[in-house]
């Protein structure tokens, strides 16, 4: 795969570290959550078969985390964005 770091451009897969589902937001006040809600955050995953918003780190490059929208069946990457950017692209 060739992944586009939003800053460094297209780089080999070997330079990156996959950091998981980007739709999982760490709750701001975990102590207020029920066991069930905390479990949702900590363990449960949507794991869709298709387009997936995810976080990658350009570990052996600029070390920045960024978001990628990737199809986990075809490995097409529709879009990559800095962490604060929202993603677009890809058929869902």
């Amino acid at each position: 795969m060739l992944i586009k770091c939003p800053w460094c451009g297209d780089r080999s897969l070997a330079e990156f570290s996959y950091q998981g589902d980007a739709t999982i937001i760490r709750p701001s006040d975990p102590l207020s959550l029920s066991d069930n809600q905390w479990n949702e955050y900590l363990n449960l995953r949507n794991n869709p078969k298709g387009w997936h918003d995810e976080i990658w780190q350009h570990l052996n490059g600029c070390r920045k985390h960024f978001k990628a929208r990737r199809n986990v069946v075809t490995h097409e990457i529709a879009d990559t964005k800095p962490m604060d950017g929202s993603l677009q692209g890809g058929r869902s």
Partner: protein, 205 residues
């Protein structure tokens, strides 16, 4: 400190000048050297903060290179892009404390200034086959039209993170973490063997 205690390169006891590898009739394909006694300071700050931009300009004498993979130069000082919010100032000033202090003085404390002069070993790779040697190691496009003088990229060679700076068409600096230096040195020598290579006398600055 006026008299600076001599700095020892990580390669000191592994470094032998001479010509090695394939027979090259005095025209080695690759030249290898170590650049010693550099001052290297990492600067991390907010790219949209005008005080930061001004401070760096005043301390370094050049603009912050905002474009990813670019380098600004002011005299013997280079300001090298590392990440969206991080740069590396490199100068031939042998006392790293001076560069660090200059930058520290110029910036407020939203800016991180970190002396990393000893953290990297800087190798210089040059010669007509220098690009080919890099191609062996790093998954980057080293075409002469793509990776041009003044470009920098951080990538991987032989499982080590390296920051590569293109100095001129045939000359590159490799910033390698110090503890990996010997491994990288051995790798470079192996990769250069088939072209015949020369290890020059240690470069300073």
């Amino acid at each position: 400190m006026v008299d600076i205690t001599e700095r020892r390169s990580a390669l000191e006891s592994h470094y032998t000048a001479g010509t090695f590898g394939a027979e090259c009739n005095g025209h080695p394909g690759v030249m290898l050297a170590v650049r010693r006694n550099l001052s290297i300071v990492h600067v991390a700050g907010k790219p949209d903060d005008q005080t930061f931009i001004n401070a760096i300009k005043s301390a370094c004498g050049c603009d912050i290179p905002f474009e990813p993979g670019s380098v600004s130069v002011a005299g013997s000082l280079s300001l090298i892009w590392l990440a969206a919010d991080r740069w590396m100032a490199v100068s031939a000033e042998p006392d790293p404390g001076i560069l660090e202090a200059t930058l520290r003085r110029a910036c407020d404390d939203t800016v991180a200034v970190i002396d990393a002069s000893h953290a990297s070993t800087v190798l210089r790779l040059s010669g007509p086959q220098a690009r080919t040697v890099l191609m062996k190691g790093a998954p980057l496009d080293f075409h002469a039209r793509t990776f041009t003088p003044g470009r920098v990229a951080t990538t991987m060679i032989s499982q080590c993170t390296v920051t590569l700076v293109c100095i001129d068409q045939d000359t590159f600096d490799l910033y390698v973490f110090r503890s990996f230096a010997q491994h990288m040195w051995e790798w470079l020598r192996d990769a250069s063997e088939e072209f015949g290579y020369e290890v020059s006398d240690i470069l300073s600055g």
